[in-house]
Amino acid sequence: MRLALATLRRLLRLGLILLCVAGVSFGLMMASPVDPVNAYLGPLVAQVSPEQRELIASRWGFDAPAPVQFGRWLQQLASGNLGMSHVYDQPVGDVIGQRFMRSLALLGSAWLLSLLLGFALGVLAGAKEHSPLDKIISAYAYVTASTPTFWLALLGVLLFSVYLGWTPVCCAGPVGVSDQAIHLATRLHHLVLPVITLTLLGTASITLHTRARMVALMRSDIATHAFAQGASRADIAWRHGVRHASLPALTLALASLGELFGGSVLIEQVFAYPGLGQATVEAGLRSDVPLLLGITLFTALFVIAGNTLADTLYHVIDPRMRRPRKPAAMSS
C-alpha cells in the first residue's frame, strides 16, 4: 500500500517535471528565431509567395495564440504523437527510438565500464593512501579529469584510425551498407574507439570520489576497530569499504546519465557516430522543431529516471535513510 502510494507520488512528480520541461522548451522555441515554415520549405523558400506561406502557416495552426498552440501540442503528446521530423522524414518517435538504441550501445557500455573501472580503481587507491599504487591511480585520474573529451577523441582517431589503421574512421558501420546487413563484429569494431574514449574520461571523476570516501573510511573509527580485530587492509576494504564507497560512486554515475548525453554530442560528432547526440545537432542546425522538442523531453525523462534510481538505491544501501520499520519499541 505504502509502496503503491510512493510510486504514485513519484509518477505524479515525474509528470509535473515533464510538463515544466515541455513548457519551458516550447517557450524557448517560440522565442527563438526558428521559423518552422521556412525550415520546412528549405531552398524552395524563394519560390513561395507570402500568401502561400500564410496558407501553410494557418493550415499548421500558427495563427492561433501561443497558449492554444501549446495546448494542441500537449494534446498530441498525450496521445503519443510527437510529430514528424522533416530532417529525417520520419515520425519523431521512430527517429528517437532508432538513434537511442545506437546511442545506448555506445553510452550504456561506456557508462557501465567507467562505473566499474572507476569504482575498482578508487577502492584500490583509497585502501592505502600514499602507496605507489595510489599515486599512480591518482595521477592518472587527475590527468584524465582535466582532459577535454573532443580533444582526446581527435587524438584517438588520429592515432588509431588514421595512423595505425586499427579502427574505422567513422560511423556505426561501413558506409553504404544497410543497417540490417551489418555483422555484429563489425558493429563492435566501430564501437571500440568511442567506447574506450568515453570510458577513459568517465572513469576519472568516479575514481576520485570513490578514493576520497575510501580514504575517509580508512581513517575512521570503523577501520581502527577493524584493525584492532586483526583485519587486514584488504579485509576492511572488502567488508566495509565497498559499501561505503558505493554511495558516492552511484550518485555520481546516475547523476551523470544526463551528462553522458551532453558528452555524447561531442563524441558522436568527432566519430561521426549516428546516435542521439548527432541527431540533436542536426535538429538544431536545420530547425527541426518537433525533433528538438522530442529529444529535450526524452533527455529530461532520462535524467529524472537516473535520479530516481539513485534515490531508490540509496535506501537499499544505507539503512539510515530508510524509514523506521515500526515505531521503535525495542526491548533493551
Binding site: 570503523i222 581502527t224 584492532a228 580485530q229 559499501r243 561505503h244 544501501i317 539503512p319 525495542m330
Partner: protein, 272 residues
C-alpha cells in the same frame, strides 16, 4: 598476563609545516595486568589512557616513537606480535560507538569479528549468535543496524565482538560513557564476568567510583605518567593508604567522599 615496563610514547606534530617535533604522551609507564582480574586505568581526559590502549594493540600511526618494553604471556610483545595477536589474543572494546559500521547489521559485524579471529564461516555465525544472546540481545537487535540500537545495546554489541575473539586480554576503553546507571552496571557486570572466565581485563575510565566496584587494582594516570598503582581496597576512608597526593586528591574529590578540591598534589615533583 601483560607486563609493561618503562613504556614511553611520542607522537609527531608540525609547528611549521616543514618542521617535525615530537610531543611526549606517555612517560616511563610501568604496570602489569594479571589474568582473572580487572585492572582499572583511571585519569583525567588527556592523561594518555586511550593512547596506552592503542599502543598495546599496535594501532598507532607509523611515525610514532615508542620506548620501553611490553611482555604478553611471558614473551616480548613487539609490533609484529601485536599484529599477529590482535583480534585473537588481544581484544579492544573501543571508546566510540562510531566504531560500529552503520551499513551492516549487528549480528554480521559480530560474525566478522569471529571470522577475523580465525573461525570458520559456520563457526563464526554460531559464535556470533551465542555471544549476542549472552549479552541479552534478542533476534530483533541482532538484525538491527547500529543506528537502531540504544547506546547500551550498541555497547553490548561491541562487548560481544570482543567476546567472540576468545582473547585472553580485553581492553575496554571508556565503556560506560553516556550510559544510564542500569546500563552502566550491566556493562561493568559483563566485564567482571569476562575476568571471572580467566581473562585479563583492562578497564580504562575516568569514573573512579564505578571502576572500584569491579577492579582489583587501579592505576592512576596523569599527563602520561603513572602516578600510582594501588589495590582497590586502598581507596577507602580519607585515602590515607594511598601513597601519592594526586591519587588521594582524586579520591577526596568524589562526591561520596569529602568532595573537596585539594591542590596540594601540585607540589609533587613530576606534576609541575
Amino acid at each position: 598476563m601483560l607486563r609493561i615496563e618503562q613504556l614511553s610514547l611520542a607522537l609527531p606534530y608540525y609547528p611549521r609545516f616543514w618542521r617535525r617535533r615530537y610531543a611526549t604522551h606517555l612517560n616511563q609507564l610501568s604496570l602489569s595486568v594479571t589474568a582473572g582480574s580487572v585492572h582499572a586505568i583511571v585519569g583525567a581526559s588527556g592523561a594518555g589512557k586511550s593512547l596506552l590502549a592503542h599502543t598495546i594493540m599496535g594501532l598507532l600511526p607509523e611515525d610514532a616513537r615508542s620506548g620501553g618494553r611490553c611482555f604478553f604471556k611471558g614473551a616480548a610483545l613487539d609490533e609484529r606480535r601485536k599484529r599477529a595477536l590482535r583480534g585473537r589474543e588481544l581484544a579492544l572494546i573501543p571508546q566510540s560507538l562510531s566504531a560500529l559500521d552503520p551499513l551492516a547489521r549487528s549480528q554480521r559485524q559480530v560474525g566478522w569479528a569471529a571470522r577475523r579471529a580465525g573461525l570458520s564461516p559456520a563457526g563464526a555465525h554460531q559464535a556470533a549468535c551465542q555471544a549476542l544472546a549472552h549479552y541479552q540481545l534478542d533476534e530483533r537487535a541482532c538484525q538491527a543496524y547500529p543506528h537502531e540500537l540504544s547506546g547500551g545495546m550498541a555497547r553490548r554489541v561491541l562487548t560481544a565482538m570482543a567476546q567472540v575473539t576468545q582473547a585472553s586480554l580485553v581492553i575496554a576503553d571508556e565503556p560506560t560513557v553516556g550510559l544510564d546507571p542500569l546500563q552502566r552496571d550491566r556493562v561493568l557486570d559483563a566485564l567482571a564476568a569476562l575476568a571471572r572466565q580467566g581473562k585479563a581485563v583492562m578497564l580504562i575510565t575516568h569514573d573512579l567510583r564505578h571502576a572500584l566496584s569491579i577492579a582489583e587494582h587501579v592505576t592512576v594516570m596523569h599527563e602520561g605518567h603513572c602516578v600510582e598503582t594501588a589495590a582497590a581496597h586502598m581507596f577507602h576512608g580519607t585515602g590515607q593508604a594511598l601513597q601519592s597526593a594526586y591519587a588521594r586528591a582524586l579520591w577526596q574529590a568524589l562526591p561520596d567522599n569529602a568532595f573537596t578540591l585539594d591542590s596540594g598534589y601540585m607540589k609533587e615533583p613530576y606534576l609541575a
